[in-house]
Amino acid sequence: MFSSLTVHYNYYIVIVLMMVGLYAIFASGNMIKRLVGLSVFQTSVFLFYITIGKVLGGDPPILPEKDKSKDKTDYASDVVAAPSAAEQPLALEGQGGAGAPSLRDEQVAPAGEDLAPTTMQSASADASAGNVAGFTQDAAAYGDEKAGKFLDAGEALAAHNAAETPLATVDPGVVAATFPASALDATYSNPLPHVLILTAIVVGVATLAVGLALVVRVREAFGTIEDDDLNLAEHEADLVEAGR
């Protein structure tokens, strides 16, 4: 059990924060304390997302450019380079085991390594082969109704897209010309959870703002923000409403 604690300490912290926040929400008798509990609960979720995006030994996901002075002819190739730049940060070559997008929660992950698997890597590999390849599935595998119409949508979409000119196919030579090799081979932390958490933080701030505005209005309307007094006031109003 202690080995699990030292290896997965990040998840234990998330759980502790989550439970503290939820307890504060349920057990507090004051509106502001309840909002604080909500904030702690949301903070645990932020920590959860960020911790699954961390790659040990990974660099911040920023690509240095190789050469500032490019002549105009390279811009046409930048069109194909740009999408690949989005894929590079997901190259988790040496990390996390083999590329199959299967889950490894049964085994103890070595030294707190993140468990975000490499499906995006396979998606990027597919994308380099032909953009929408990662999005198709083998029609033969879904002969029966079990696949369902929802998955048929993906297949039809891929067929639809493949019939048109495919989007940017990546030419490895061009990519190598734009970015230094060391940048392409390096391992990066996953940037996507960070983006998701920025959004979630903004949502949390907005929720807190609305909640505190409601607390101010309740204070003015009722004269108190303690739960017991509020319940009493509401109960009296309910009795009036129920017909004396």
């Binding site: 911040p60 920023i62 811009y75 046409a76 069109v79 903004v202």
Partner: protein
């Protein structure tokens, strides 16, 4: 209930916040510039529109804390703040709608979808310009909203006629 009359202007001998006021006169512009730095440096490090917007709002709030909410309202009028909230959203949405009018030969239907930055420039320059523009939109909206929330809380005159029973 009329707002209380403003306190008499303080002389340097009686001003107990002299150090703070002088320091803030130096610091508030620096804070604003730092906010813009955080915004433009987001390509290379932590930063972005939301963080920059909050820093800009902090400059306004510092001014309000030291000189009073009334002075801050004169410097940054509430009407401008309300318009700022919407202006950022309109900028972001406008960039998205702008992409409808471009030609994107890479796209199968040769019609640019919403928020496709390739219309703004070739190659990754389009992406660069697009991201900076939408982040400016985020900066303006976030700064305006945070200042608006501050004004709403700090300068509140309670409505005494709310539906009491």
């Amino acid at each position: 209930m009329a707002p209380p009359p403003p306190p008499p202007p303080e002389t340097p001998e009686t001003d107990s916040h002299l150090v703070l006021r002088v320091a803030s006169k130096v610091l508030i512009p620096v804070i604003l510039v730092y906010g813009l730095y955080v915004h433009f440096h987001a390509d290379f490090g932590a930063g972005g529109g939301f963080q920059a917007g909050v820093i800009v709002a902090v400059a306004v709030m510092l001014y309000a804390l030291l000189y009073g909410v009334e002075a801050a309202r004169q410097a940054v009028p509430p009407v401008a703040v309300r318009i700022g909230c919407a202006a950022g959203v309109l900028l972001y949405g406008g960039v998205g709608v702008l992409s409808f009018f471009g030609r994107c030969p890479e796209n199968p239907q040769s019609v640019c979808p919403y928020l496709d930055y390739n219309v703004l420039g070739e190659g990754y320059h389009g992406q660069h310009v697009g991201i900076i523009l939408i982040e400016v939109g985020v900066l303006v909206t976030v700064a305006s909203v945070v200042v608006a929330v501050f004004y709403a809380f700090a300068g509140r005159q309670p409505h005494l006629d709310e539906g009491k029973h």
